[in-house]
Amino acid sequence: MSKVIKIRKGLNIPLVGQPEKVLIRADMAETYAVKPSDFPGLTPKLNVQVGDKVKAGNPLFHDKYRPNIVFSSPVSGEVVEVRRGDRRVIEEVVVKTTGSVDYEQFEAVSPVQLTREQVVEKLLKSGTWPYLRQRPYGIVANPDDKPKSIFISCFDSAPLSPDMDFAVNGEQEAFQAGIDALKRLTEGEIHLGLNADYPASSVFAKAKDVQLHHFTGPHPAGNVGIQIHHIDPINKGDVVWTVNPLDVIIIGRLFLKGVYDATKVIALAGSDVVKPRYYRIVSGARVDSILKDNLVKTDNEHRIISGNVLTGAKVESIGFIGFYDNMVTVIPEGKHHEFFGWMAPGFNKHSASRTFFSKLLPGKSFKLDTNINGGERAYVLTGQYEKVLPMDIYPVHLIKAILANDIDKMEQLGIYEVVEEDLALCEYVCTSKVEVQEILRKGIESMIKELS
């Protein structure tokens, strides 16, 4: 085993509702959707109209400025709705299924026999290309780039996150096919980040043509950005790509079976779920397909999150699971006033600081809601963010540079190395309740604008 990289800074938030390792094959959902909001910075252009019939793998929309990047329907059926939000921005393209999936055929061929151009073309045409994301910026990769290397984090350390080893069980062949395809895309290495605390699934450990790296430590040790920082940090001018392990499998199936089969195993977790478990679903499924009869009945509203509690997106009860997400979390909404809450001893309040008595109860799991727990203030405390960010970056200075819209400073302070999920814990611990992730995305957007 190679050297273990020890992550010292970070924070594990122990929550109630850890998924039990039971796999359920979910019924097909009534509708599926692809959401342009899953792809930051994208300006979508529709390829279909309401009423069109599509197969799995047929494009629904494409990137206005990079028209060869298309986003495909994960299932076959009829386009029933194009939901638009403010200023007619496309929010969801909804496809109603026929019950079974009819796939568009892309010819099954081993990626080893293909040239780089052929692999790129196949990924673009089938709509699997958007699974490749680039750093800097955390946006869909550019087909014209030749990345320095490709990074895949093979474990998730976020609160309640699924066990990736369990989720990829039995997909060894597809995973390897995906790796073979990725290998054609870069002249550099493919790096897999594994958890050093337990022996990794053979799907990862026995993968060929990859470099294995072992990590141990609290969240965000499983974030690919943190792993890149410790393996081979991104410098100005570098481009590296990242892929989720579940998405490598989807890419692998394209070459094995010649179809866009977006089936994946995700976790359903959180304190408002009766039986938190794993579900085999097709990407973009409507959430009620896995939530029905499985939510705790209370007077309180539920917050349904596609993704984990730190970085996920809020979805409605008839919303859809996000493109990159590997879990759905349900927690209580926190719309309540608490009498002298800031003075309470706080045996059931979680905090990274040691100002609540809950610190005296090690091993306790918490049932947290969505209350902000205070008012927004100017920065007063220092050193908080640094305790949960295992990178050689000054997060507060970076955030302040973004607020001042100082492009040079953002670059110098390392904005190329981070995306929202890497700073999500900073937002969690912030006493001043600063919206760190949103500010960071704004900073990344102004970087893209400035440098394009």
């Binding site: 008012g375 999500a424 937002e427």
Partner: protein, 387 residues
Amino acid sequence: MKALRRYIDKIKPNFQKGAKFGMFHSTFDAFETFLFVPDKVTTRGSHIRDSIDMKRTMTVVIMALMPAMLFGMWNVGYQHSLMIGESWTLWQNFWFGFLKVLPIIIVSYGVGLGIEFAFAQSRGHDVNEGFLVSGLLIPLIMPVNVPLWMVAIATAFAVIIGKEVFGGTGMNVFNPALLARAFLFFAYPSHMSGDKVWIAAAEGDKIIDGFSGATPLASAAAHQMDKMPSVYDMFMGFIPGSIGETSTLAILIGAAILIISGIGSWKIMLSTVIGGLTAGYLFNIFAVNPYMEVPAWHHLLLGGFAFGAVFMATDPVTAAQTERGKWIYGFLVGFLALLVRVLNPAYPEGMMLAILLMNAFAPLIDYYVVEANISKRLKRAKKVAKS
């Protein structure tokens, strides 16, 4: 609670912007959030948030100040009883001190919070909790005999010139509480130094023969080493001095609360002590007068060193903000405090000036620490570009 909540919900619309009492929006909000944590939920970003907020943070600091404050009240009575040569009980001492100190605290909070509310109101901001701590720090670093009107103008000066002109809590360069003291120190030196100000006394009080009322620092500066109190007295705090600064023991309890809760920076506290000891030992080595011969560690017990190191230097807004910077900042605070104390006969106490000076330099320290990070990143990029 429910009835109270209902009442607040009922009157709340009157205080919304544009309503009848809309101009008191910030004031209403401050009282409402004091009673109830708001029901605001997350909309973007992290869906769950840490339970800590600014009110909790400031409460912890106030709790840490309690031992020093309570001891200070007792000591005011004790010193007075020494002066008049009577032997009082614990409660007599405490009650006497309580009556002396409470008005100072009330004036400090009244003036400071009044100004804070007015500024928050005029800017349409939420009222920031920062002054809850400053308002207690100011009385604790005053001599007990300070006239109340001086406390009032010093507090006003500190809040307006020290904080609000920079944009309010979080934006200030200098520690507001120390600014209040510095203002009085330079504007009314006769009320802030000498032998008479440290003991609560009214005209007509009889003073027993041989009682001086001088602080140990003043004795040391005058090279009257025979008048120095015992180490035990200095550690426990049975000595004249500013209200909250005398007992190193009480301050250590506060330090423990700050460090355990993670609110105060142990790095700054430790490095300040190291800086002070370094200067002290250097003086010992090159001693040419009795003051320089004072054992280095005695300085930690003298005057405002401990109080400054624990409660003043650690103010997160005015201290260095980078972790590496905190070490440098703290060391220099401790070192400079002793330098001013021992080598400058004009100022018996150096802690206040040392911290204010380092407040001014903290951004510079941070600048170089961050620059080092930037150049490290540039170097990394260049190395890759070459290879």
